[in-house]
């Protein structure tokens, strides 16, 4: 079996079975480069319809199912070993309930992130999670990939905001967990289990989120610093700063140049960059920028700029999209202890990687640039970095690469101690292996 097999075979799939057919509006779509996914597609209009379809499938055809939202992250993980059905969530995109004064919202999983954000902004509220490609990405897809961005330092991630879910398991059972109130400990917290589960445990149909007020404004302090060692010194000062940043980003010159270019801002990128974000009322933001400037700038800092208003918004967006912007051969993410990040970034820089670090959280996103356009070269670079990541309990996951390369890449990272347990749980919830099989926590052996 070749994991990298492309999807052309899917065109030959028959779509038969009458009762099966009754739920189906199967349509052929062009085979997709990279994804190894099928050409069959089912677009339910209600969660009930979806649940019937999945139940029927589990008993009859037993096709594998891949839920899809905005299709921005379908390349995550390994390619599907066999073609199945794409379950498009595009019509399950309704607002279910938005009691704004309770600061919660319930939406269907296919709602686009941008629509969610607009609805919330009308009430001066937000889901404070940075989600790349918000015009396309959906609530369900973002949640299933546990996506995040720079502001996770100040605001946390999906697990901190999801308070209720409805989902359909592989047997078609529509189930829910949690509820619509902000505090609730009744039953197992299956919401947490589904965050980041990549559509392998259930198809999310509805999500209830806890919300936050929109801050009046936000800004960044952007500084170029002599070396990563000097930045580490600043990061340590930040630990007991008087300021409470919402983001602490470090960029090497290659990444900084890409981000500044995509944000259409003029900022220095000729040395490693420390970019600290703050938010709040205008007064708070002014005060924080002043104090940060005093606390951080001394010998070792070359240039220091305040980024405000529209420029700040564009920088946020570029910092969020960096992880997805690659036409380049390969993008990876390493999760480390914050204290290891600068050494890792330095090594990656020497290897010619464009590096963004969510330094407060220990996450490093690296893009191998065009020079590394062969699988052998990419592998050499990763082989240098993986042991560094593993040395203190971290890991390195390839987010994006050429479909042909996947079998040789750590698409899910190296095996973690608890994977056997997770696989056991997967088998329990999806005994026939129908939901996104082979794409998650697999292939450790090939690593």
């Amino acid at each position: 079996m070749s994991m990298s097999r492309r999807s052309s075979r899917a065109d030959a799939l028959p779509c038969n079975g009458h009762s099966f057919q009754s739920f189906l509006q199967l349509k052929q779509i062009a085979s997709r480069r990279n994804y190894g996914l099928s050409a069959l597609e089912f677009t339910p209009a209600t969660q009930l319809e979806l649940s019937r379809y999945v139940a029927e499938n589990a008993q009859t055809e037993r096709r594998t199912l891949c839920p899809v939202g905005g299709r921005t992250a379908l390349h995550f993980g390994f390619s599907a070993p066999e073609p199945g059905v794409l379950v498009s969530m595009s019509q399950l995109n309704r607002l279910v309930d938005y009691p704004a004064r309770d600061m919660t919202i319930t939406v269907e999983a296919g709602m686009r992130i941008i629509d969610l954000q607009r609805t919330l902004a009308e009430q001066r509220q937000q889901l404070p999670i940075d989600i790349a490609q918000a015009e396309r990405a959906t609530v369900g897809g973002a949640l299933a990939t546990n996506t995040s961005g720079p502001r996770r330092f100040g605001h946390g991630t999906f697990r901190d905001y999801v308070i209720g879910i409805s989902a359909i398991d592989a047997e078609g059972r529509l189930f829910k967990a949690g509820g619509r109130v902000v505090k609730n400990v009744a039953g197992y917290d299956i919401c947490k289990l589904l965050v980041g589960s990549r559509g392998t445990l259930g198809i999310l149909t509805q999500v209830t989120l806890k919300l936050r007020p929109l801050p009046e404004t936000s800004a960044q302090l952007w500084m170029t610093v002599d070396s990563f060692t000097e930045i580490e010194d600043r990061l340590q000062r930040l630990l007991t700063s008087q300021v409470r940043p919402n983001a602490v980003e470090v960029l090497n010159p290659a990444a900084a140049a890409l981000i500044v270019a995509s944000a259409r801002c003029e900022l220095p990128t000729n040395a490693p960059v420390l970019c600290v974000g703050v938010e709040g009322s205008r007064r708070e933001v002014d005060w924080q920028l002043d104090v940060l400037t005093q606390e951080l700038t001394s010998i070792g800092v070359q240039e220091c700029r305040q980024v405000r208003d529209h420029n700040a918004d564009r920088i946020w967006e570029s910092l969020t999209d960096f992880q997805t912007c690659a036409d380049d051969p390969l993008t990876f993410e390493a999760n480390l202890r914050p204290s290891q990040c600068m050494a890792f970034a330095e090594r990656a820089t020497q290897l010619g990687v464009a590096v963004q670090v969510h330094a407060g959280n220990g996450l490093v996103i690296g893009q191998l640039l065009d020079e590394a356009a062969t699988i052998d070269h990419s592998t050499t670079i990763l082989n240098e970095l993986r042991p560094l990541a593993r040395s203190q309990g971290g890991n390195l996951v390839v987010l994006h690469c050429d479909g042909e390369w996947k079998v040789r890449m750590p698409m899910c990272g190296d095996a973690e101690h608890s994977w056997p347990l997770m696989k056991q749980l997967k088998r329990k919830l999806d005994p026939q292996g129908l939901l996104n099989p082979g794409r998650f926590m697999d292939g450790a052996a090939t690593a």
Partner: protein, 491 residues
């Protein structure tokens, strides 16, 4: 020596051999098996139902926990973990007897790492001891249940505890990065870690709040939170409960997230006043204890906005704590509220329910009406900002007919919480107390998926049987009928 175990289903020869082997694992000081010694462990903070474990062991290491659990599997006897026993839902009740594994001797802080902002602790560590150990570092462990002077981090992990500052900072699960768990078959699972985003499913998130049904937590990796730079603490005095709840709704609705927002009604205030003479107005319908925190440049603005909103909704006055000492005094009265209830009534039952915050006026009116209907006195002190109510039903346990009315009223209040779109527990858990509500809150499908999860990790059902889920597949589940309401309070 007559052991309780000898009287249970195990033959005496077998029980003797089990005791010998347990002693070999935990040492003779690490085991209790005499009737009199076991009495202390017949219940936790939920005193309604009582049952002695056959044996209590006090392991001092993960390896010992593993050996003990393996032995239970070999002898096929049930086991239940216990921390400080402050559970208000009967989480520690040894249903079906068997072994109780008390974690209180595993209480070391294994590591504090400020650079990477985590601490690794053993499960028996008392919550407040971690905060004390962090004093002066600029960091703290955020979850602060009112029982924090006694309850353990392992217990907090198992019940996903909250506290007054949950409103802004989140509950236990938001502060746990990983854990070591001895699974019900005696194997060790390492969940999460000292780094974020460990590839795979978030089993850490699933295990927090499992109420001891998925294994025994032997280590917890917690996040450390930066201390706030400044606070402002206020006391809003209102004529009526309705005015106070409207103020809550206005504050949250205005996009302000205070660090804490707690309500006490007249019943509680007058009890507190009798007990401690804080100088509270006795004729006020309700008071709100409100705290904002953040940057020094911001807290005054925020406090002023809150004061204005309180006045708009009819606050008679809003007092501000001007010194740390005054702040401490305000918090002291909030935290001692339950101690004062003893003055009002010989017994009391604390309920724990949640409603959407805008439904607070409705649920409080319902509670008042419910009290009148059943001729019961009910007072309220609770985490208002989260919509997490704690009505306290006062009664005399010698009066059986009154006791029956308390049970009825509690059920009606929790039923109303469900009807208003809420939940029957915000922080105390299901335990044995609220099992009968699970199928009102969840559908058979929801419960089936939860059962699959439990059976995946706890297939023989030996670990904490009879808790949380209404039917317990694969093990003898003797459900304890509810005869009396709980008496302890919690806030």
């Amino acid at each position: 020596m007559t052991t309780a175990l000898a009287e249970s289903s195990l033959s005496s020869a077998r029980s003797q051999s089990m005791l010998d082997r347990l002693r070999a694992i935990v040492g003779k000081d690490g085991i209790l098996a005499d009737r009199e010694d076991l009495l202390v462990y017949e219940c936790d903070g939920y005193v309604v139902e009582k049952k002695c474990p056959d044996i209590v062991v006090f392991p001092t290491s993960t390896e010992q926990v593993v050996e003990v659990v393996k032995l239970c599997n070999e002898y096929q006897i049930p086991f239940v973990p216990r921390g400080a026993g402050t559970s208000l839902a009967g989480g520690c009740l040894p249903i079906g007897g068997g072994l109780m594994i008390a974690l209180t001797r595993m209480k070391r802080i294994l590591e504090i790492n400020l650079r990477d902002r985590y601490a690794i602790v053993e499960p028996g560590l008392v919550n407040v001891h971690l905060t004390q150990a962090l004093k002066g570092t600029g960091y703290h462990y955020a979850p602060d249940p009112s029982s924090q002077g006694a309850c353990t981090i392992g217990g907090n992990f198992a019940t996903n505890s909250g506290g007054p500052h949950t409103l802004k900072y989140g509950v236990t699960v938001n502060h746990v990065m990983g854990a070591e768990v001895v699974l019900p078959d005696g194997s060790i699972a390492q969940l999460g870690g000292t780094v974020e985003d460990v590839p795979g499913y978030d089993l850490t998130g699933l295990f927090v709040g499992n109420e001891g049904t998925l294994g025994i937590c032997t280590k917890v990796i917690v996040k450390l939170t930066r201390d706030p730079a400044a606070y402002r603490t206020m006391l809003g005095v209102f004529e009526t409960v309705t005015d106070a709840t409207r103020a809550i709704s206005e504050i949250i609705g205005a996009g302000i997230v205070p660090a804490a927002l707690e309500m006490m009604d007249q019943g509680i205030v007058s009890a507190l006043e009798q007990a401690f003479h804080f100088g509270f107005p006795l004729d006020a319908g309700a008071v709100l204890l409100i705290e904002v925190d953040g940057l020094e440049v911001a807290v005054d603005d925020e406090a002023q906005r809150i004061i204005a909103l309180c006045k708009q909704t009819g606050a008679r006055e809003v007092r501000q704590a001007n010194t740390p000492k005054e702040r401490q005094l305000l918090w002291k009265c909030r935290k001692q509220a339950f101690g004062a209830i003893g003055r009002l009534s010989p017994s009391y039952c604390t309920q724990d329910g949640v409603v959407p915050r805008t439904k607070l006026p409705e649920i409080l009116e319902f509670i008042t009406a419910c009290g009148l209907r059943h001729d019961l006195r009910i007072v309220n002190v609770f985490h208002a900002g989260d919509g997490n109510i704690h009505p306290i039903l006062l009664f005399d346990e010698r009066n059986a007919e009154q006791v029956a009315r308390v049970l009825l009223a509690s059920d009606e209040i929790l039923g109303k919480c469900i009807e208003l779109g809420g939940s029957v527990t915000g922080e105390h858990g299901i335990g044995v107390e609220k099992i009968s509500f699970m199928n009102k809150l969840f559908s058979p499908e929801d419960l089936a998926v939860m059962s699959l999860i439990r059976d995946c990790f706890n297939p023989k059902g030996l670990c904490s049987p009879g808790k949380m889920l209404p039917t317990s597949a694969g093990c003898g589940n003797e459900h304890v009928p509810k005869i009396k309401p709980g008496r302890r309070a919690a806030m």
